[in-house]
């Protein structure tokens, strides 16, 4: 492919501008919050950005394949525990989790490598179990993924020699996940997830989502295509899990179960699961909403009302409303591009009716 | 139904557009069926024959156009409402309920207009029309052969005493003598005065028995009129070619 084709393929106004916009929005918000220098808001931003990485990894498989991937949050958990086991010093592990297998206690890697190792462990687990599951679609597929989540959860919550079992796993030491690290990783993941979606692999996976049989008859091996995305998605989830555990510093298996999954699912569906922009804006919107509601809960609590948990009710109702009236989310399953922004701006209205223009273009093509 | 005059068609479809997602399958179909008529719809695969039946029966929602049945505008009605109003569709591929017995299949066919006494009387009648059903009365529908299933599907359509019986490819995938049986049966139903709208791949047979016929092509009506007048007006070989190709799904 020569340079000219390459640039043409990037197609800034209709395609690659998405990445630029999403990163710009994220970095601008981050820089502003850094400038504000209020720990409470920095904390919300860091947490939200870790969630964003999780949702992006979630989108990579679920959004492109159309398979409800319940097991995803399990890989987040695997990455969280695995990276913590790698990063903690043997002395600290012997102190915090005395039940742990000796060979795990002796492992030690510097933090950045531990993060990557955690993601790799998640990918390896996914790679080992996923192949036979990728054949399954529709309700059987969703049920299998759900069953897998429960298997992972039982292992995480009961395997005392690895995860400290049902007890809290405390990492000890200092908070290794920093504001800028999370931001940097998020930027990389946005690029990665977007490039995947636009790559030929991503295109094939989307084809299987839209019409499994047609995709198959045109020679796409949908099991292989799904498999690659599933493992990659588990890797991003594992990475996000590692960032999470080194930020929160104490985790239990329950942190990676249905409540967390529900949150990820709400963010992705409300944003629009079929696009990277959907994952981005869904996370942004739900994070803002939950923080706002949490303030209301706190206020009510001060005035004597116990209202904790009402945020989830509101999110759940909004989720159902979206599923009924706007099943493709706020983005409608489309990406935010330079073209879509031009369409929204009234200045650009000289081209009168962009939708019909588009249609004409398509007809010509 | 006093507002129906003698000449008004029992079914009148006007300028019907139906789409599967973004793909338009019917481009403004108009057709009508009068009481007591046997009307055939012919055409090659993908011409929109099955689609029009599904739209009339309420399974597919038309994008625009109207459907009048027994003097009422029934556009957008649900399948169960239309059934109650006197429409029955014998679906393509028979769609027998495989684990239900023949009896249960028939009982279900009468669901919308079920009357125990009439059901018992009809059974007697059906057993003479379809002797095989009597033999297999307590067997699961899935165990019947293709031809037997087709008999059952037609009986299941008839048992609600429809004012309009629509049949979608009743001869599809059957052996030649089974096909003969099915067409004899359709003739018998016609002689009993039942109004029939028939969609068939086997154009030759369908045109032989029809009072009037529609020839579909690419979601449009190519020809409408008496079968015997068709010869000079359209390229008849294309119609018959449709009859040679069997078995594939539309």
């Amino acid at each position: 492919m020569n340079m000219k084709d390459f640039i043409k393929d990037l197609d800034f106004s209709r395609k690659s501008s998405t990445v630029v916009f999403l990163i710009a929005i994220l970095v601008l918000i981050g820089a502003f919050i850094w400038w504000l220098n209020i720990p409470f808001i920095e904390d919300i931003f860091t947490n939200g950005t870790i969630m964003l990485i999780m949702v992006l990894g979630f989108q990579l498989f679920m959004g492109n394949s159309g398979i409800l991937n319940w097991s995803y949050v399990g890989y987040v958990g695997i990455g969280a525990f695995a990276s913590a086991i790698f990063s903690m010093t043997p002395a600290l592990k012997a102190l915090q989790i005395p039940t742990m297998y000796p060979f795990l206690i002796s492992l030690h890697l510097p933090f950045p490598l531990a993060l990557i190792a955690g993601a790799l462990v998640a990918m390896i687990v996914a790679a080992l179990v996923a192949w036979p599951l990728m054949r399954l679609s529709d309700s059987v597929g969703a049920i299998t993924q759900f069953a897998l989540l429960i298997v992972i959860n039982v292992l995480l919550s009961q395997w005392s020699q690895v995860t400290n079992g049902p007890r809290t796993f405390t990492l000890g030491g200092t908070r290794l996940t920093s504001f800028w690290l999370v931001l940097g990783v998020a930027v990389l993941v946005i690029i990665l997830v977007y490039c995947y979606k636009e790559s030929s692999l991503g295109l094939k996976l989307r084809a299987t989502r839209d019409d499994r049989y047609a995709a198959r008859s045109s020679g796409i091996n949908f099991v292989a295509v799904r498999y690659v995305a599933y493992v990659a998605s588990a890797g991003i989830g594992g990475l996000a899990g590692g960032l999470y555990s080194h930020y929160i510093l104490s985790i239990t298996a329950a942190s990676f179960y249905l409540n967390e999954l529900f949150l990820l699912l709400s963010m992705l569906v409300i944003g629009g699961s079929m696009s990277v922009s959907g994952a981005f804006f869904g996370t942004l919107l739900v994070t803002l909403l939950r923080q706002g509601l949490r303030q209301v809960e706190l206020f009510l609590y001060k005035t004597g009302f116990e209202a904790s948990g009402s945020a989830e009710i509101v999110v759940a109702i909004i989720l159902i409303a979206f599923l009924i009236w706007r099943p493709n989310g706020i983005t409608g399953g489309r990406e935010l591009t330079w073209q879509s922004i031009k369409r929204m701006l009234p200045i650009a209205s000289e081209k009168k009716d962009p939708i019909s223009n588009n249609l004409k273009k398509e007809e010509k093509a | 139904m006093s507002n129906i005059t003698e000449n008004a068609p029992i079914l009148q479809v006007t300028d019907l557009y139906v789409a599967y997602g973004p793909i338009l399958a019917l481009h403004g179909i108009s057709l009508e069926v009068h009481k007591g008529e046997l009307v055939s719809i012919c055409g090659v695969n993908g011409a929109g024959k099955s689609t029009v039946l599904k739209a009339i029966a309420g399974v597919l929602k038309p994008r625009s156009g109207s459907i009048r049945f027994k003097g009422k505008d029934v556009t957008g009605w649900k399948p169960e409402q239309l059934h109650k109003h006197g429409m029955a569709l014998v679906p393509e591929g028979r769609e027998i309920f495989p684990s239900l017995t023949v009896e249960e299949n028939l009982r279900l066919g009468a669901f919308g207009r079920y009357q125990a006494r009439r059901f018992a009387e009809d059974l007697e009648d059906f057993f003479t029309l379809f002797p095989i059903l009597k033999e297999r009365y307590h067997q699961a529908g899935g165990l019947l052969s293709g031809g037997e299933q087709q008999m059952l599907a037609i009986a299941r359509g008839l048992i609600s005493h429809p004012d309009l019986l629509m049949m979608d490819e009743p001869s599809l995938g059957l052996s030649p003598n089974r096909v003969d049986q099915i067409f004899e049966l359709i003739m018998e139903l016609k002689s009993r005065g039942i109004t029939i709208l028939l969609v068939e791949q086997n154009a030759q047979r369908a045109l032989e028995i029809a009072d009037r016929a529609y020839l579909f092509s690419n979601g449009r009506v190519e020809y409408a009129g008496r079968p015997q007048d068709m010869a000079g007006k359209v390229d008849i070989t294309s119609v018959y070619l449709g009859g040679q190709k069997g078995g594939d799904v539309e």
């Binding site: 159309g66 036979p132 399954l136 529709d138 309700s139 059987v140 969703a142 049920i143 299998t144 759900f146 069953a147 897998l148 429960i150 298997v151 039982v154 292992l155 009961q158 529900f262 709400s266 904790s308 948990g309 009402s310 009710i313 759940a316 109702i317 159902i320 599923l323 009924i324 099943p327 | 029966a57 309420g58 399974v59 399948p79 169960e80 059934h83 029955a88 679906p91 309920f97 495989p98 684990s99 239900l100 249960e104 299949n105 009982r107 279900l108 066919g109 669901f111 919308g112 079920y114 699961a140 899935g142 165990l143 019947l144 052969s145 293709g146 031809g147 037997e148 299933q149 299941r156 995938g173």
Partner: protein, 300 residues
Amino acid sequence: MNAQIFFEFAINVLSMGSLYALIALGLVFVFGICKLINFAYGEFITVGAYVLYFLGVFTSLPWPLVFLIGILSSVAVGYLSELVAFRPFRGRSLDALLVTSFAVSVILQRLFQLGISPRSKAVPVPAFFNMNIELFGLTTPLRNLLIIAITVVLLLILTVIMKYTVLGVAMRGASENFVTARLMGVPANLVISVAFIISGFLAGVVAIFWTARTGSAEPLMGMSPLLIGFIAVVIGGMHSLPGAVVGGYVYALIANILSLTLPTSLLSFRDAVMFAIVIAFLVLKPEGLLRGNYQEERVG
């Protein structure tokens, strides 16, 4: 004393299996018609349990009436959730339905936490439930025998309804081929509502015997029966009502055997083993132990 151990094992399997069979039936009724694994099903049971708690603690109504009202509340929640949350999804994607049922489940759980209490409440149980019965030389609480008897009766009633009433035939037809059933005049809304009502009814019955065993009601209690039903339904093949019943008993059998044979250190992994079995079933034998309604078509 081998015989006694065997009888104890058998009674355990049969009483647990009966409860599990009812749980599985409640799930499969909705799954059969809507192809929806209803995540909110566990909460139908929770509602019944809380009503038993309220009536048992704050009123002196006779037990039969308490049970009846408990069952009716589960029915009401089942029907209402169908009406409000699931009906707008008629004809839409399965995933949307599944996510909605998940959301409904979250909403109900949070409402219990907010409106009642996050902590568990002791549910009173009629004394005769725990009365010990002497049978084949071993003693067992009456409730264990009661659940077996009630399950048998309910299965008989349901069989009669499904086999001999027009509505039952319509339900079975609709679960095999929904569109064709509608073409026969079976109203979509009717069969789906009835499926949810039966599902709610079974949840209400389950609530009685579940709380009799655990003695308490709490917001998240619906999860365990949901998972049990889920396993049993998969083992039974997902599409067939008899399959779900068999799945319930088979699950009780496997769970009891695992409890007896797994070393204590591994006992906490029992659920992982059960769900690994579920995955194996889905991958290798998706039609379950009994062949469901899917018979091969004979061409002739």
